[in-house]
Each structure stands twice: as C-alpha cells, then as structure tokens.
Symmetry: C2
Subunit: 197 residues, 2 copies
C-alpha cells in the first residue's frame, strides 16, 4: 500500500453513498451475495474471531418473516428490498478459534468468561457488519442498515437451532432508488468529535 | 452506483490489506488524519448518532501514556507507530441529536434509557471504527487494531473531563513493514457462517 484510491472509488464507498429506503426492481444474485462475503470476511477481527453470523433473507417468505418482527416504519424497507441480511453474532465464537486462530490457544482466553465473550462478539461482529456495508457498496450496491426491530423475536424465529446466535442489526441491500431521498444529515468537522494529541 | 470497483481497489481495502505490527519510519501527517475523519464520518449510523469520539495519539508523550495502559504485547505496536487512535464512544451521544438529526426529536428516544444508549453507542461507535479502518486503507495506509488494553485506565487518564466517553478499541495507523508478517489466518467459505433463505 501507499497510494490513495481515486476520487471515484472514495465517492462510491464513502462520500456519495447514501442509506436508501426505496429499491429498484433489480435482483441481487446469489453470486453477488457470495462476493460480499468474500470481501467482508477479509476485514480484521480480534484474534480472527469472525463472530458474525449472516442470514440472508432473499425469498419473499423469509423477508415477510423478518418484517413481522420489525418496527412498522422498517417493514416496507425489508419487504421491497431484493435481500435483507440479519447480521448476528455467535456468543460462543470461541469454540471456532482452534481452527480460525490455530497458532495459539485463544479459545482458553474466553472459556468461563461469558461476559467477555458477549462484549467481544458485539464489538467484532459489528466491525464485520460495517465491512459488509462497505463491501456491498464497493461492489456497486446500496445499503439500508436498520436497528429498529425486536431482537429477541428475530432470535427466537430464526435461531431456534443456535441459541447462542444473537441478532445485532439488519441491512437491506440492492440497487437504491434515490428519488425522494432527503438531504444528507450533518457531518461534523474534525474538531467537533476528534482530539489530536 | 452500480459498477463494482476495480480489482486493485478491492485488493487495497479488503483482499491484500493486512493487520501490521511493525512500522516504517514514515510520518502520518495531520492532514492525513483529517482526511481519514472526512471519509469515515460519511458512513451510516443509526439516526446519524455518530457516537464515536476519536483521540489521536501522535506525539511520543501521548503514545507513551497510552502504551502504559496496554497489554505488554501491544506496547511496542503503539510506541513505534506514527499514530495510534483511541476509538471511544459518547454514551450521552443523544445530547447531540438535535443538530445531528434535526428533522425529528430523536433525543427523546434515548432520554432516561441509559442501557439503550450504551448498546447504541457501542454498536454505532464500532461501525464508525470499522469505517475508520477501511478509510485509512483507502488512503493508502495500514492499520493495526487492538483491544488488549485496560479500558477503565484509558478512560480515567484520557477522558477525565468527559466521564461519559468510554474507550472501545485502539488502532495504530501508518505505513506497515510487512517483513516477518505471519501468513493470514483462515477465512471461511460462505457456507460456514452464512445462511441464504
């Protein structure tokens, strides 16, 4: 590394990308969903924990199931999107560390520390959720992330077989229709939320 | 949007980027630090909460302060990096919502709900931390994120004037020296941690 990406790439991922709520009638293929994972999985997590578990609701039936647990204002954004992914996390991610982080016994760091695992799964699973958003944008797609839904109901409905999987947020993905999009909310200058020591 | 970025851009942000622990003797300018923020701040957060608070430890003195609170194995990675940023979050982020999300009274959603604010600050502040990592990479820099440090001690030392700021993780940033880097840890195929419904 050393050269910055060109302006168009930075625009696509950060500066011109927008959260969209309305979707063009254009499919997201299974191959594209795989491509998003192939990029997002490369992002760093602590000790390669990779605690995110992703459930891609693409069929109409699965999006209806998900929408039933969402805040009323979010249902349309799920039902009309080509795909809506549940970004969940495995609070027993440490069981996978012997093969994900094979050069040391990282599993033992988390055994018996359920609270530590919850914090680490939330932190690292959320990092992976952000990698997913930016990976989708890098592939030319738009995202509509949401946290307004009943997490416990989603977990019960979708993860009955995996009681340690917990939903974090959800994200509709597709080709956005920007008609009627509101202006972007303010983004503060450096000095507002940063300190340079 | 609609076209994927080229292979070189995807390599730089995701596929070829690595967490580095050793650094070239090459400065990261204040202008570059501002550029990282200018990109990272554009990423989406729920109701434009932008709860991340960033403290950039660039001076030798500030990195020594930070390193003193880090796990022994992380001290060298802080002391030798051009800059190490504390990614913190403001658990009273809702106080800023009247100007960050001006078209509705989002502040009222969080008043009196301290636990809900903690969850939302952690989720959205971590998303911003991931945007920061990928923004730095997009600008040609390398990152070394770490969570092995004493959060309470960092908070006490750096945020004495802001008791609702809580450290999340830290990240060294610079031009990496890849000599001696270990091979990348495994990244699982789609079917391992994904379900497509």
């Amino acid at each position: 590394m050393s050269d910055p990406l060109g302006a168009e790439a930075l625009d696509q991922i950060f500066r011109e990308a927008r959260t969209v709520n309305e979707w063009q009638d254009r499919e997201v293929s299974d191959a594209q969903i795989h491509e998003i994972w192939e990029l997002a999985k490369m992002g760093p997590t602590s000790a390669n924990q990779l605690p995110a578990r992703l459930v891609w609701c693409k069929s109409q039936e699965s999006r209806e199931r998900l929408a039933a647990h969402a805040a009323e204002g979010n249902r349309h954004k799920i039902l009309t999107a080509p795909v809506c992914v549940i970004v969940a996390m495995d609070e027993d991610f440490h069981e996978q560390l012997p093969w994900l982080f094979p050069h040391t016994d990282a599993k033992s760091w988390f055994e018996g520390d359920e609270e530590g695992r919850k914090v680490s799964a939330f932190r690292n699973g959320t990092l992976q959720g952000a990698y997913l958003i930016l990976a989708a944008r890098a592939l030319g797609l738009d995202c509509g992330p949401m946290s307004g839904f009943d997490n416990a109901a989603v977990d019960k409905d979708f993860f009955a077989d995996e009681p340690k999987w917990k939903s974090n947020f959800i994200c509709s993905i597709g080709y956005g229709d920007r008609t009627g999009l509101f202006p972007r909310s303010p983004r503060p200058d450096f000095d507002v939320f940063n300190r340079l020591l």
